[in-house]
């Protein structure tokens, strides 16, 4: 009878499994989990290993002295990184449109006229249709009085553009109501003396005239050629509640495609080049065609080149290698939309631009687990051995999930990569490593919501949302309501919050819960459903995914409250039983490798 412990040093967590060995019989007693200290495969890991072991010992009341052997994993030498580039850009040259949605515009309807600062509208304009420009120095009462007087004089004021948040106030004081757009920050950029059209729709509706090219053509008497020119403009206004279009001689709105460059994929036997702006589908099929991939380069001087170069530099630093030796051996590309400020906008408009997100997987040198082992042995004065390859140990551990049997595949969904392995009926194990996992999901959420805050995006990924509907209650994302005895912080009133460990963390995002939930769920699907299928096709002995019967999901991302169910659902189409692992019937998707390390121990 002796006590051994399997320890799995992962990128994120260090897990251990304490077991009692009695001849052939290995019986697990307890487990421990802590954050990994330092980069995986370095001396810094030892602190974490010690703490993790300590936890396992505590959990079953044993002491360090009783342990006679530590088995650590031979880590898969792969690391991943993520990047994203936009491939379209909306540019307004000379001001021709204001596409923003002030929360309180004034009036309803369409107004067309010549743009003029309110102080410049005079007798000369009697009989002329005029859109008044009202800057922040003009008090709204003065503005309303002036407009009323001008209208009495015979000037046909058909609308107004206002810098401050005064639209309703002005409109309420007008004898004849007009559509008014307010909160136009850069009103000084609005061209003067130009034909201008304003549209404000009812609450709950969207504009229909200015978002239609023929609507603009009607209002401005455009020729067919001119109508063609304003097409991107009307398109950019689709879905707005209010908008302004101004016709200037050279004004234009362009939806420019940024030359994103090419990806050059060198496979063992094939080479392919693919333009990044052709989208993820083409990129992924080129990568599939080149399998197995030796390296992927981006065209130098382009966004694609820059993106992959960045990955390469980070990887070189992390693994302490020369940049030239870093080879990208898998890449996951995903199409997305990201909000970008419109260049030349007058009211801080944003446009949703096309973008491509990539995750890259790099094979590093063999990690120095032997070194870690001897270091550890020295420190603890206990025998330490490198017990087995990570992929094999994970399979052995996963097979302790109730309801599984050989042949079995596992998907280890971590932060940087999705690793898959398979064990055949006769016990042969093979595995592969794919780019793209938890960090990729987090990046997509971060960028699609325009947060610029990885940690916040990580929380949005992991926790459900709620809306603070009053000072005393919230509504969960499933529609259920929860009340509080004490008043909630006014700072979170009417905000969407993340429910993290009993706390409410507000998001500074306008819009509704469903939109954020959708982005969150789509990001998870784009990465893990895609990668799950990619991985299984690659490791299936027949290359046919349908020939796999059981799939167990393990790793940190298998803890997610949605991802395992998405994979269960998508693999069901292929007749596969897939679900979150439950190592030894108690650990959930954690501890597979550590369990494998202790269970695979054989005396002698």
């Amino acid at each position: 009878m002796k006590l051994i412990v399997g320890i799995d040093i992962g990128n994120a967590t260090t897990e251990s499994t304490l077991a009692q060995v009695d001849g052939e019989k290995v019986q697990v007693l307890s487990s421990g989990i802590v954050k990994t200290t330092g980069i995986k495969g370095t001396k810094e890991n030892i602190k974490g290993v010690f703490k993790s072991l300590q936890k396992a010992l505590e959990n079953c009341g044993k002491t360090l002295e009783e342990v006679s052997l530590i088995r650590i994993n031979e880590a898969a030498p792969v690391i991943g990184d993520v990047a994203m580039e936009t491939i379209t850009e909306t540019i307004i040259t000379e001001s021709t449109m204001i596409g923003h949605n002030p929360s309180t515009p004034g009036g309803i309807g369409i107004g067309v006229g010549i743009s003029l600062p309110i102080e410049d509208i005079k007798k000369d304009h009697v009989g002329v249709e005029v859109i008044a420009l009202i800057n922040k120095d003009v008090d709204f009462q003065v503005a309303a009085r002036t407009i009323n007087n001008l209208v009495k004089m015979g000037v046909n004021i058909t609308g107004a553009i206002v810098q401050k948040d005064d639209a309703v106030l002005i409109n309420n004081r007008l004898d004849r109501k007009i559509p008014i757009i307010d909160e136009v920050l850069h009103i000084e950029k609005v061209p003067v003396n130009m034909k201008t059209a304003i549209e404000v729709s009812e609450k709950g509706k969207v504009i229909s005239m200015l978002s239609n090219p023929y609507g603009i053509a009607t209002l401005f008497d455009l020729t067919p050629e001119e109508t063609k020119m304003i097409m991107p403009l009307s398109r950019a206004l689709i879905g707005n509640r209010s908008a302004v279009v101004i016709k200037t001689p050279k004004g234009d709105v362009k939806s420019k495609i940024i030359p994103a460059g090419e990806l050059n994929i060198t496979g063992e036997s094939k080479k392919r080049s693919v333009r990044v702006d052709r989208g993820s589908k083409e990129i992924m099929s080129a990568i599939k065609a080149c399998h197995p991939v030796n390296d992927i380069y981006g065209e130098t001087g382009t966004n694609a080149g820059g993106m992959l170069e960045k990955v390469r530099v980070v990887m070189a630093q992390l693994t302490d290698q020369n940049v030239k030796n870093i080879k990208i051996q898998d890449l996951l590309a995903v199409d997305t939309f990201v909000p970008q400020k419109v260049v030349g906008g007058m009211a801080g408009e944003f446009a949703m631009e096309n973008a491509i997100g990539v995750a890259a997987m790099v094979k590093a040198d063999k990690l120095q687990m032997k070194m870690v082992a001897s270091n550890l042995e020295e420190k603890l004065d206990i025998a330490v051995e490198v017990g087995g390859v990570e992929a094999e140990m994970a399979i052995i551990g996963s097979l302790t999930t109730p309801g599984t049997t050989k042949p079995l595949a596992i998907l280890d969904m971590g932060a940087g990569s999705t690793d898959a392995s398979i064990i055949t009926k006769s016990g042969e194990i093979s595995s592969c490593h794919l780019a793209g996992a938890g960090n990729m999901v987090t990046m997509l959420i971060d960028r699609e919501l325009g947060l610029g805050d990885f940690d916040l995006a990580e929380d949005i990924k992991k926790y459900p949302l709620a809306k603070v509907e009053s000072l005393f209650h919230i509504r969960h994302e499933d529609g259920s309501v929860q009340f509080f005895d004490t008043q909630l912080d006014p700072g979170i009133f009417a905000r969407i919050v993340i429910l993290k460990d009993g706390e409410m963390q507000p998001l500074e995002i306008d819009g509704n819960i469903e939109k954020i939930k959708n982005i969150r769920r789509e990001a998870k699907k784009k990465v893990f459903v895609e990668n799950g299928i990619r991985a299984l096709v690659r490791i299936s002995p027949t290359s046919n995914i349908r020939d796999i019967d059981y799939v167990v999901l393990v790793g940190g991302s298998a803890l997610d409250f949605e991802i395992p169910q998405m994979i269960t659902d998508s693999l069901a189409h292929y007749g596969i039983v897939a679900g979150r692992g439950n190592i030894r019937g108690v650990e959930g998707p954690r501890n597979a490798v550590a369990t494998g390390l202790s269970l695979s121990y054989r005396e002698g």
């Binding site: 309180t104 709204f140 309703v168 008043q487 009133f493 009417a494």
Partner: protein
């Protein structure tokens, strides 16, 4: 029956004009009606409390000799949602009015600087 509105109670030792009028403008721009009532009371918290209790929308504003408050009928009398001194900037009063309306509409507050 009283009308649907944000109720504003103010101390009769004050006049609602100048910067204080901005409170009304803030409510109006957000599209909600208000009703102004004069009172013997001087304390802004008490005024806010009475105002909110009598509002069909449950939201009241108190303008007392000690400052202005935004109050809600479900809050304790001496714990209004926001309190500002009478010496606040014009913009602050406008925002107070806007926030009163937003409390009803369920839209996030514009958090004015200098309040508590």
């Amino acid at each position: 029956m009283e009308n649907i509105a944000i109720n504003i109670y103010y101390s009769n030792s004050l006049k609602i004009n100048g910067d204080l009028e901005e409170i009304l403008f803030g409510i109006e721009e957000e599209g909600l009606p208000w009703i102004v009532t004069e009172s013997e009371e001087k304390d802004s918290k008490v005024l806010g409390n009475i105002a909110s209790q009598s509002s069909k929308l449950g939201v009241g504003i108190g303008i007392g000799i000690d400052g202005v408050t935004l109050h809600h009928d479900k809050l304790e009398k001496y714990k209004p949602l926001f309190t500002f001194p009478l010496s606040s900037m014009k913009e602050t009063f406008r925002m107070l009015g806007m926030n009163g309306a937003r409390l009803i509409k369920g839209e996030p507050f514009v958090i004015p600087k200098g309040g508590k």
